[in-house]
């Protein structure tokens, strides 16, 4: 199906209700939704809980399988599954990050990572599942090693952002860490040889055609050579790392450069952006809307164009949009209205 031809609609499959406060974030379990394993997702909320939702294999409807409560004492801001799908990490305003293990369908908190001075805002697993990154309003980014028995040890504390750090995200297959911040910049961090020390290899800020206000989120395309970022400046930006266009540095790192800016599509803060495996960028914003973009193959046109606009996707701010990790056109969104919605991108006959 050619994305540039034909009309598409975002069809609401189901609204998941249960959280009693705004839903901040959600994550699809990457080990589910294939080979007959029912799809699963986790969501986290201002109600201090995490909910696990699972698709029923008989009628494909979703239901809440578990409520993870009484562990975090404040808002749970972010959640992330380990690449194997067995562990779930949750970051909270209570300054801790918890790791949960799925033991025969029950979720148990197996580890608590303490160290940040105040609110932890995001957590991310590296592609091998051996490292975790967390970030906080305390302006620091911590890298943790996941040891046998799910114990975690802090390897490095990265200082460099001048304001709170909104999101951490590992590159899909390189051990490069990307962070974005209230200081309007995106930073890229790499390890120094074998010394377990990490340093900032590149900063993308306003001087590099970057954002002019808080950068809220980032996401990579399937091949890992492009990245999209979204901001309070109401724009999305596309970045590229191409060894042919920019020669790699001595350590093999290929710097990222700005390719394109998508502006004028949202009229309030853009909180979330996610790139699907087949190349569709979804964005969710405080204007309650979801937008979808695709690469424009026309020679003269801008490099990315709008595929679809979904006004009033939720009754309040859209805080997170996330494509299913499998080859399906399912999108999940989370909102201040306390609900999660599952959408299907379908073509209109």
């Amino acid at each position: 199906m050619d994305l540039l031809e034909g009309n598409f609609e975002l069809k609401e499959i189901q609204k998941l209700e249960g959280h009693t406060d705004r839903v901040w974030n959600l994550a699809w379990n990457p080990a589910t939704g294939i080979s007959g394993i029912p799809a699963m997702l986790a969501s986290c909320s201002g109600d201090k809980t995490v909910r696990i939702w699972q698709q029923n294999s008989f009628d494909t409807s979703w239901e809440c399988k578990a409520v993870l409560d009484e562990t975090h004492t404040r808002t749970v801001r972010s959640c992330a599954w380990s690449p194997c799908g067995k562990l779930l990490a949750t970051a909270s305003f209570d300054a801790t990050t918890s790791i949960w293990a799925n033991v025969g369908g029950d979720f148990e908190c197996v580890s608590t990572l303490e160290g940040h001075e105040n609110e932890v805002k995001s957590v991310s697993w590296n592609p091998a599942g051996s490292l975790l990154a967390t970030c906080s309003r305390d302006k620091s980014v911590w890298i943790w090693e996941v040891l046998p028995g799910n114990e975690c040890e802090c390897l490095s504390i990265l200082q460099g952002h001048t304001q709170d750090v909104k999101m951490v995200q590992w590159h899909p297959f390189l051990d490069l860490l990307f962070t974005c911040s209230y200081d309007n910049s995106i930073k890229i961090w790499a390890e120094d040889g074998d010394s377990d020390d990490w340093h900032c290899v590149q900063t993308l800020n306003e001087a590099s055609n970057g954002h002019s206000s808080t950068v809220w989120a980032l996401s990579f395309n399937a091949t890992g050579d492009r990245m999209v970022t979204c901001s309070d400046d109401l724009s999305l930006k596309i970045w590229e790392s191409d060894p042919k266009a920019t020669p790699p540095a001595e350590d093999g790192f290929t710097p990222w450069r700005h390719v394109s800016t998508l502006a004028g599509y949202h009229d309030r803060t853009i909180f979330s952006v996610h790139w699907s495996r087949e190349g569709i960028i979804a964005s969710g914003a405080a204007d309650d809307a979801i937008r979808l973009f695709v690469r424009n193959e026309e020679v003269d046109g801008p490099s990315y164009k709008l595929l679809l606009r979904k006004e009033k996707a939720h009754e309040m701010d859209v805080n997170a949009v996330q494509w299913s990790s499998q080859e399906t056109r399912l999108l999940a969104s989370a909102s201040d209205d306390g609900t999660i919605k599952i959408w299907e991108l379908a073509s209109v006959a």
Binding site: R22, T75, M316, D336
Partner: protein, 192 residues
Amino acid sequence: MVRELSNKNHVVYERKKRRIHHLVVPADVDEYAIDPIDQQEVFDILKNLGSFNWIWAPFFFLIFVAVIFISLTVLHHIRDIKDPEYPYTLEELQVVTEDSVEINDKRSHVRVTFTPTVGNCSLAPAIGLCLQVKLMRSLPSRYKVDIRVAPGTLHNEAAVNKQLNDKERTAAASENPIMGQLVEECLAPTYE
């Protein structure tokens, strides 16, 4: 460490006479239609805000300091600040007036521009947070609320505006026990 009130010589303005709304509902009116909200209504929600603000904010800060230093001097100053000389509301201090509320009901948008009484007011973020929380609780959820400091009235205006409109930071601040309590104290008289 002694903290003085940022402005001892407040000018206190007379409360505005409240407008009386006459609700006449014609028989053929669609009862499910969304009621528009006007400027006066939002101002009514806000005007009693923070009659404690100017007294209690430094008071809480001082309690916090006192806990750290356990100093008699500080306690002495708490006693001084508790002087009931300033039982004022944001309206009486003209921090918010009816004109500082802009509404676009069609677009469900409210913008409140408040005026700190002095340019170095360190409590501006706290006042903004009170306004934000109060409106979030009082208005229907369809409303988008922006709070800002009146242009040119605060030396760190851009930083305060950015912070007030970062909902993650306002959410975290209102969950913070010290800040949360301060907000509740400021809002308490508005629920009476």
